[in-house]
Amino acid sequence: SAVISQKPSRDICQRGTSLTIQCQVDSQVTMMFWYRQQPGQSLTLIATANQGSEATYESGFVIDKFPISRPNLTFSTLTVSNMSPEDSSIYLCSALSGSSYNEQFFGPGTRLTVL
């Protein structure tokens, strides 16, 4: 199994600013993902963080708004840029430790509030 930690656990930010969320896995993983979960809503995949190359973004999400880094097999960051109140959400990091999706683990999430 893999244990995932995220920093910060929560933050309150002003409109127009940016926040970088860190995701650390306690072991090397094959794939890392970033999700968004708004209250009462399902998890929405933002992007797949690729080690050593640009992230793969889902429809509706762009690199300028959500730049992602993955410098190695255990760490990734997601930046929420030029924030607006609509970006208020929980942001979750997840990872696959094997080749199959039955080994997908999630971090505790970062609760972001934008004023």
Binding site: I4, S42, L43, L45, S94, Y101, E103, P108, G109
Partner: protein, 109 residues
Amino acid sequence: SQKIEQNSEALNIQEGKTATLTCNYTNYSPAYLQWYRQDPGRGPVFLLLIRENEKEKRKERLKVTFDTTLKQSLFHITASQPADSATYLCACLDDKIIFGKGTRLHILP
């Protein structure tokens, strides 16, 4: 568009009974279906995966079924306990993973 539907209303079940949660999908033929548990303020925790060629999968008190004709999965918790109270998410996987909104389950002592 692809859609995953779970009962949005909370489900209240008496302790000791079997809780059954439903996941329906449309415009989709997932190769796999997963169930997760999510507690307030925590990330989802993987419980079970079932493949399209499997009818049923069990793990301790948990049982999942996958009916590709009805486009439905049922998630059962037998001998339910108050500690089973949580939100349960269904997720379908094909070329990408899509999550349902989840069903809140309350086990009443």
